[in-house]
């Protein structure tokens, strides 16, 4: 994407004022976005993102500059602008080590590149999903099918001699169903995605995903308002993992640990979760939505065990925060695009499977809430307080799933909730999502088997 000699010059220019490390990230990304709504293709967009990000360190100080100007002059100007901001004392001169290309073998084979599949083939799959949703029930009034695929080519080079290129390919189709009885409208959603090409879209089990989307909308249309109060909550697998992603995963990222802004800082080796909990981040899972070969600093991805049987074992660490913590990178540095300096982020994060069957967990719950599909939520990074919407929920009564309820929001505190897990199921599943944080919005998987939390506050309309 850029020649080696030019990159070496840019890396050197970035070190002119005393920086001790410089890095160049080049990105060339092709994206397609199609939206089927009102049973017709209403959006058909495509384009190319291209830019370069230059980063310079001086100790714990970091400066980042990014531009789309890829001319020699443009890149040297950006490098010198970054260098100028380093208020470095010239305490030794760093010279760029000659770049040697590192080749990587992909962990995530692609069969049909997105650009190789005609858009008409993509549209055919979207129509199929649309038909399944609309034929599900007369109360379904609208289906919105989004298909996004992309090819992201990256080049990462740094003053330590690293020079590596990679191509990331991702495809996702999300299906929104709207059910209405005239007075009221409710929505259902399912959005599977993978680090794969068109083969993922073509082989999607629409009979499952599209139907589930429609079924959720229809079920919620006939649901009662959620009760309020403190209850045991059973959270099902796949996207149910979003709670622990938000409420614990982010607190295990070096970006919050290094600054002591995390409840898990300085607690390695201590008990931080229920004994039933083993929590893992693994970017190497084959073809998963949150997977990578290398992170955005060029480090190989790996399986990082964060919590094992309730004991804190490790963090997700990037280069800069690694300096602060005096710990090695864990291949966890990610960024949305060249417009963001990378930092420690999750890939595919999940609670490892336990021994209970889902049937046992429900049967063992006298009265509580069953959250079948979770929606999104957020967490206050300083306090760990979280809130999550439940897309499909039920009351559990005498060990049986009872009536559906809607409008349930779960609130609580992450560090406490992970201690309160009292059942872990054996049905591990992963769900695709987008995670937003300081280095932008990234594809991640959240995952877990069914778990039960002994008590969470549920806020509903029935106060």
């Amino acid at each position: 994407m850029l020649n080696k000699a030019l990159i070496e010059d840019v890396l050197q220019a970035a070190l002119e004022t005393g920086g001790d490390f410089s890095e160049v990230f080049v990105e060339d990304r092709y994206t397609n976005h199609m939206v089927l709504q009102n049973s017709r293709l209403e959006k058909n967009l495509s384009g190319r993102d291209f830019g370069v990000g230059i980063r310079v360190f001086h100790g714990l100080q970091s400066v980042y500059a990014y531009t789309n100007d890829f001319s020699r002059e443009g890149l040297l100007k950006a490098a010198r602008t970054a260098a100028k901001a380093i208020q470095g004392k010239m305490d030794g001169e760093t010279t760029v080590i000659p770049l040697i290309k590192e080749s990587i073998s992909t962990l995530h084979p692609i069969q049909i590149m997105p650009h190789e599949a005609a858009k008409s083939r993509k549209l055919a799959v979207m129509r199929n999903a649309n038909d399944i949703i609309r034929n599900y029930d007369p109360e379904i009034v609208q289906a919105i099918i989004n298909l996004i695929d992309e090819e992201q080519n990256v080049l990462i080079a740094n003053s330590e001699g690293k020079f590596v290129e990679d191509q990331r390919v991702r495809s996702r189709m999300s299906m929104v169903s709207i059910a209405s009885n005239g007075a009221d409208m409710q929505t259902g959603f399912y959005g599977p995605g993978a680090y794969q090409g068109f083969e993922f879209i073509e082989n999607l089990d629409l009979d499952h995903y599209a139907k589930e989307s429609a079924r959720i909308a229809k079920t919620m249309l006939h649901a009662d308002p959620a009760p309020s109060g403190k209850f045991p909550v059973v959270i099902d697998n796949e996207f149910g993992g979003v709670i622990f992603h938000e409420a614990c995963g982010h607190s295990l990222e070096a970006s919050s640990v290094a600054k002591n802004a995390s409840v898990f800082a300085n607690k390695l080796g201590e008990k931080v979760a229920s004994d039933l909990v083993t929590y893992i981040d693994d970017g190497t899972l084959e073809n998963e939505w949150g997977s990578i070969n290398i992170d955005d600093e060029g480090e190989k991805s790996r399986k990082n065990v964060l919590i094992e049987d309730g004991i804190l074992k490790g963090y997700m660490i990037d280069k800069l925060n690694g300096r602060r913590m005096e710990m090695e990178s864990t291949g966890s540095s990610r960024r949305q695009s060249y417009r963001f300096a990378p930092t420690s982020r999750m890939t595919n994060t999940y609670i490892a499977p336990g021994k209970s069957t889902p049937e046992e967990i429900i049967a063992d719950t006298e009265y509580g809430i069953y959250a079948k599909y979770m929606g999104g939520g957020s967490v206050n990074p300083g306090t760990g307080d979280f809130n999550f919407a439940v897309n499909e929920a039920y009351v559990v009564k005498n060990g049986k799933i009872d009536r559906p309820i809607r409008g349930a929001t779960l609130i609580g505190n992450g560090a406490k909730t992970i201690l309160d897990i009292d059942r872990v199921g054996n049905n591990l599943g992963h769900g695709a999502g987008m995670c937003g944080a300081s280095s932008g919005s990234l594809p991640v998987n959240v995952g877990q088997p069914m778990v039960r939390v002994s008590e969470i506050t549920v806020g509903g309309k029935e106060a």
């Binding site: 017709r40 400066v63 957020s378 929001t409």
Partner: protein, 450 residues
């Protein structure tokens, strides 16, 4: 290659490719963001970026394509993609605006901001951090302290001759803190958006953020029930921004709005006015033309509780047989032309916040809402959100509550607005217009306390 060069080649080649109408939309942005952590500069980001999008009519259908790479190959890339995309699209073509029009003459760009030096920004951030830490022993730390100086330019070229461009710039400031007493941990934050660096006053900011943070200490539980609620201005603005899409004609035409069929009807309490003003001097969405090049104007969307109009672009207006309201909007050159308000707000009245709760026997003040992207359904209007705030008894603030959820329905809430404050503020976090509200007194909302 410059944007002008790209435009010329694109229009020249476009005619040969079979496009009957072509438009090139572009955005340029430059920014400097500085963040501080424990007295040291922790974030220092420069950006200088641009992107452009072509939109054209091909065989009577609309095709789009964008690029951030401006080089020899970009012209053919854009045209090839736009043709491919047009061939498959199935909705009505988008009309391109070629009409002669009069535009308001306002300069939103403030040259003074160009003179703000990085050193001054750092110095200010350091002053604020130092004063926060000294203000109250319960302050545990300053978690984020950031300032961004950004300028942007948007422009539109049409192959039939239309040429428009406009620049704007802002200084954004944000600080968040953690306060602690015993085991209780609470946060506070303050943001400012300004065109005048000297308007930022460290002492005012420090007082505001620390007092806000420590006022949340000493949380207590109160019974779960339906309370009269005072929604503080920031919370009210963020709630309004979540449901703003209901006012879009696009959403109405797609049956995604509860305001469908409600033109002329009473959708809010009698004393509620909702205004869209694209000419606010400090409005982030201020502009004299919209994303289609149509002149913008100030509009009353809701007058004395009655819905006057939806937000329209050329396409939605044509479908409804009305004039566009100048609300065509592109989130960026990556996206298509949509509908969005500009600076959209509930008109302030004359009550202070204290007056809003002075008559409340037992109620709740909500200062902050969280989970708006997940706990609110923009179509039905239902919401169930995490909230922070205080318990009120006999017109007096008793103290902070534990984390709450507040649940209700936005459209019912509009009818239940009993009183309106004077303290209009705009929510900084919105992708759908720049949305503002004063504090509001609401008849009743369901409150659950953790």
């Amino acid at each position: 290659m410059s944007i002008e060069q790209l435009k010329e080649r694109l229009f020249a080649e476009g005619e040969n490719t079979g496009f009957t109408d072509l438009e090139l939309y572009y955005e340029k942005k430059e920014s400097l963001t500085i963040g501080l952590y424990e007295g040291e500069v922790d974030k220092y980001d420069f950006s200088d970026v641009q992107g452009a999008s072509v939109r054209g009519l091909y065989n009577g259908k609309t095709g789009y394509a964008y690029t951030e790479k401006f080089d020899e190959d970009s012209v053919s890339f854009l045209l090839k993609n736009a043709v491919e995309n047009a061939e498959l699209i199935e909705n009505e073509p988008e009309e391109l605006f070629t009409g002669k029009a009069e535009y308001e003459e306002i300069e939103f760009y403030s040259p003074e901001l160009d003179a703000v030096k990085p050193e001054e920004m750092i110095q200010f951030l350091q002053e604020v951090e130092k004063k926060i830490l000294a203000y109250d022993p319960r302050v545990k730390k300053v978690t984020t302290s950031q300032m961004q100086n950004q300028k942007s330019e948007k422009g539109l070229f049409h192959d039939k001759g239309l040429e428009l461009k406009e620049a704007n710039n802002f200084l954004l400031f944000y600080v968040s803190i953690l306060v602690q007493e015993n085991d209780e941990l609470k946060s506070g934050f303050v943001f400012r958006i300004t065109k005048d660096f000297n308007e930022l006053d460290a002492d005012t900011i420090v007082k505001e953020v620390v007092e806000q943070g420590v006022s949340m200490l000493g949380e207590r539980n109160y019974p779960n029930k339906k309370y009269p609620v005072v929604l503080k201005n920031e919370a009210a603005a963020s709630l309004l921004s979540t449901f703003t899409s209901s006012f879009s004609a696009q959403a109405v035409q797609d049956s995604r709005s509860r305001l469908q069929g409600k033109l002329g009807e009473k959708i809010a309490a009698e004393h509620v006015n909702l205004i869209d003003n694209p000419f606010l001097p400090t409005g982030i969405q201020s502009a004299t033309f919209d994303s289609e090049g149509v002149p913008t104007r100030k509009l009353n969307i809701v007058e004395e509780g009655h819905l006057q109009t939806y937000f329209h672009n050329l396409k939605t207006a044509k479908k409804d047989g009305v004039e566009t309201t100048g609300h065509a909007h592109r989130g960026s050159y990556r996206g298509s032309v949509e509908v969005s308000p500009s600076n959209f707000y509930i008109e302030p009245a004359n009550q202070t916040v204290e007056q809003l709760y002075a008559e409340i026997e037992e109620g709740i003040i909500i200062t902050d809402l969280a989970g708006l992207h997940s706990g609110a359904d923009p179509i039905s209007g239902d919401f169930s959100l995490a909230a922070d705030g205080y318990y009120v008894k006999d017109g007096k603030v008793v103290g902070p509550t534990k984390q709450m959820t507040v649940a209700g329905n936005f459209f019912e809430m509009l009818q239940d607005i009993e009183e309106i404050g004077s303290d209009l503020i705009f929510s900084p976090m919105s992708f759908n217009g720049y949305i503002g509200s004063p504090s509001l007194k609401i008849k009743g909302l369901a409150i659950t306390i953790d």
